[in-house]
């Protein structure tokens, strides 16, 4: 567990260093994810410990959003003033982008040889 956590933190640290050093608009952890992915492709997969730790963390991904989400209490005034445009935009835009993405990928992947619906 500690070994796996160390590996994750090292990749994050390298990602953060690259983001700062090269002044990239992409956050460090996302670069870390890309590097980790490249390492997994080179090494042909994660060890059992890393796989176990990743599954453990990702099962409780929801928990990690709670502290920032609670920050909603800092914005009650603005939300009270602008609730209508914000609510309509959030709901419409979120459902629309799910629908557009799903329909497009569904249509496109049917015409490729690896698509699900290909006989």
């Amino acid at each position: 567990m500690i070994g796996a956590l160390t590996v994750l933190l090292v990749f994050q640290l390298v990602g953060e260093a690259l983001a700062r050093g090269l002044d990239l608009p992409i956050p460090g952890p996302v670069i870390g994810m890309g590097l980790m992915f490249a390492a997994l492709v080179l090494r042909k997969g994660p060890g059992a410990e890393l796989r176990g730790a990743a599954t453990g963390i990702l099962q409780h991904l929801s928990l990690l959003f709670i502290p920032a989400g609670t920050g909603v209490m800092l914005h009650f005034q603005r939300l009270a003033d602008e609730w209508l445009p914000l609510t309509v935009a959030l709901i419409a835009s979120t459902l629309l982008s799910i629908a557009v993405s799903a329909l497009l990928l569904h249509a496109l992947s049917r015409h490729t040889p690896h698509g699900e619906d290909q006989p």
Binding site: Q12, I26, P46, F65, I66, S101, A102, E116
Partner: protein
């Protein structure tokens, strides 16, 4: 409160222990409720836990910053968790390789739809400029979204709230969209929810299946990259158009 309890409260409320423990308790409670209610979408654990925490903090007159001093230890784990997303992604690599082009086309279309429709609707209905700019990156993962909002002249902490709401809306609403459009494939379902509602949608997708989760994680990562590069380039142009 009797004096002794009051003293204990004063002591505990200044240590990080309380904010951290409250976060975990709220999450465990919300998870328990969610399972008891047979995973009812309106009882999304993030939404329930946040509601409980806001109530507790408001009733006890605790400032958010005091709470966050403790809760930041949980918040910090977002970093390593993002790195860990590479592992389920790798597990789906064989399937991903075969549909790389459809995935990229869908990514660009979905990402543009998410940002432009949000900005357009909010602006047309009269939201302030700061709110509109905070809204633009709402579909990408929180750390990226906050950085992008700052560059656009929005408010990063407002963006955090909008990002969370988008995530919950997607996690709650996606199943109805899929049912209506008859989308069955877990890869497609995961990818679409990952584009529209980032990590919270991805967390939801992992509850459905590992395949859905991996495709959601891929969409979330790629959409984060794309949005970080693209939005600062196209938004000034869109703003001029809306004026």
């Amino acid at each position: 409160m009797n004096p002794a309890l009051g003293e204990i409260w004063v002591y505990l409320s200044t240590t990080p222990l309380l904010g951290l423990t409250l976060t975990l308790l709220a999450y465990q409670g919300a998870l328990w409720l969610y399972r008891r209610a047979n995973h009812h979408p309106l009882l999304n654990p993030v939404m329930v836990a946040v509601t409980v925490l806001v109530l507790v903090l408001t009733l006890t007159d605790t400032p958010y910053q005091t709470y966050f001093d403790g809760a930041q230890f949980v918040h910090f784990l977002l970093g390593p968790a993002t790195v860990a997303l590479a592992i389920p992604l790798y597990a789906q690599w064989e399937r991903l390789k075969g549909m790389l082009l459809p995935l990229l086309v869908t990514l660009v279309a979905g990402s543009l739809t998410a940002a432009l429709s949000a900005v357009g609707i909010a602006a047309l209905l009269g939201a302030s400029r700061e709110s509109v700019m905070s809204m633009a990156p709402k579909s990408v993962t929180m750390p990226i979204a906050m950085g992008v909002a700052e560059r656009l002249g929005g408010l990063p902490s407002l963006t955090a709230v909008l990002v969370m709401s988008t995530g919950i809306l997607g996690a709650v609403g996606a199943r109805y969209v899929y049912r209506l459009l008859r989308i069955e494939d877990h890869a497609v379902r995961g990818f679409a929810i990952g584009i529209a509602s980032h990590g919270i949608g991805t967390a939801r997708a992992f509850q459905v299946s590992e395949q859905a989760g991996a495709f959601a994680a891929l969409a979330m990562g790629l959409n984060g990259l794309l949005t970080a590069v693209m939005l600062p380039l196209i938004l000034p142009w869109l703003e001029a158009l809306l004026r």
